[in-house]
Symmetry: C2
Subunit: 219 residues, 2 copies
DNA sequence: AATTGTTTAAAACATTCGTTTATTCCACGC
DNA sequence: GCGTGGAATAAACGAATGTTTTAAACAATT
């Protein structure tokens, strides 16, 4: 049990702490003491703190990447060259995102980490993710392009990230928001509730009219 | 020139560095050396690094709060009890946000800072902002309620935060996103461009049809 | 011009960080 | 059995951090 136990213990503890406080604000000493492993274990097993951060992401993104590619394969087979509708693409993305961490019961952590990847400095992380998972995003992006031919190239890019922001912000701040919502409206929301509420908003956002003077792009 | 110069020199330098790297990743030594003031000056004039962070925010949020209250006063006077339309409220909010840092020629910095306030740990910052500027948000929130009576209470709450997520995520991850956008589309976007693109998306999101089975709430 | 209070300057202080080293432990194969 | 190699441990290292201290320079007031 030796190695496996220590490595996963570190990863389990690190991902929670990273999600709670960010990367720079989480020291290796905090991680190792909470995980009840030796301080040097991180550098021994992972090499450095940077490598640990990347490993935390890989544990989520590797299964996600595989499953999502598989799901897109199925879709492309089914639609046989026809453009896949935007709703179907978003639905598939949402389902895959929900499936992956469901096994680990930590959707919230996964979302927080995704948010941090965009927000925190950590240039190495962006490079790592881009390098390892850029093709998944590219593939999805291409399919969305075919589903929304009326959108100018740049506009689609930005709207995709707008919607990404909506989802990540909401789900990563879920606890805080849920506290407020519970207190003010006495109505408890589940993650599934939230996603049900998110769907029409995201679709409407993607299909919103073009900004007033986007002429230079729209040609 | 003595005090004023040193204090504003520190603030000017700090806000740029904070916006670029975040709070924890920016050391006082980096700030003071770049600002060409003594290291101890920060602790002398502000008391601590935390207080410096708060001071950086206050320099933006104090004028913003004042202007926004004034703008809402004008609106309420003009609409004389009638509900103020949602588009007008959002427009006013956006205009005020744009006006404040325009004088200091640093809209991007202001936006990044707003994003960091939500994103970074810094519990003291959230408490400070809540305490000093919470009433502005409450007032705006009430006006939005009157502008969207058709929305169930909880639905409006969530959508407001969806849209907040869109804006904050986009603006706080601006550099990262801009890097990608520059590389892929060779088109440089300004913050003003982004806000122009954001508007129709936010409006459409707020006015999206209700989710399929929100019946229990809609009554 | 002397004095007072304020600001700047240089240095040191006490922590904390990531990383490395040296040692011990322990399981496994010969 | 023993030795060997991978893994855990304890300790220390060097660098960087926020903060404090002490002294000097300065401005303003009387």
């Amino acid at each position: 049990m030796a190695q496996t136990d220590t490595v996963t213990r570190i990863l389990d503890t690190a991902e929670v702490l990273f999600a709670e406080r960010g990367f720079a604000e989480t020291s290796l000493r905090t991680i190792t003491s909470k995980a009840k492993v030796n301080l040097a274990a991180v550098n021994y097993h992972f090499g450095s703190k940077k490598a640990l951060i990347q490993a935390v992401f890989a544990r989520y993104l590797d299964p996600f990447s595989e499953r999502f590619h598989q799901a897109l394969d199925d879709l492309e087979l089914h639609y046989r060259g026809e453009p896949i509708p935007l709703e179907v693409l978003l639905e598939t993305l949402a389902r895959t995102v929900l499936e992956v961490p469901a096994e680990r019961n930590s959707l919230k952590v996964f979302m927080r980490l995704l948010g941090l990847a965009y927000t925190q400095a950590q240039g190495h992380l962006r490079r790592y993710i881009q390098e390892h998972y850029g093709n998944v995003f590219s593939r999805f992006s291409d399919l969305v392009r075919r589903a929304t031919p009326e959108l100018p190239e740049a506009e689609r890019f930005w709207r995709l990230h707008f919607m990404l922001g909506t989802v990540i912000f909401t789900l990563s701040g879920l606890d805080a928001l849920r506290d407020i919502a519970d207190k003010d409206y006495h109505e408890h929301v589940s993650v599934r509730d939230l996603i049900r509420r998110l769907r029409p908003v995201v679709v409407a956002g993607m299909q919103a009219p073009l900004p007033d003077d986007a002429l230079k792009v729209a040609g």
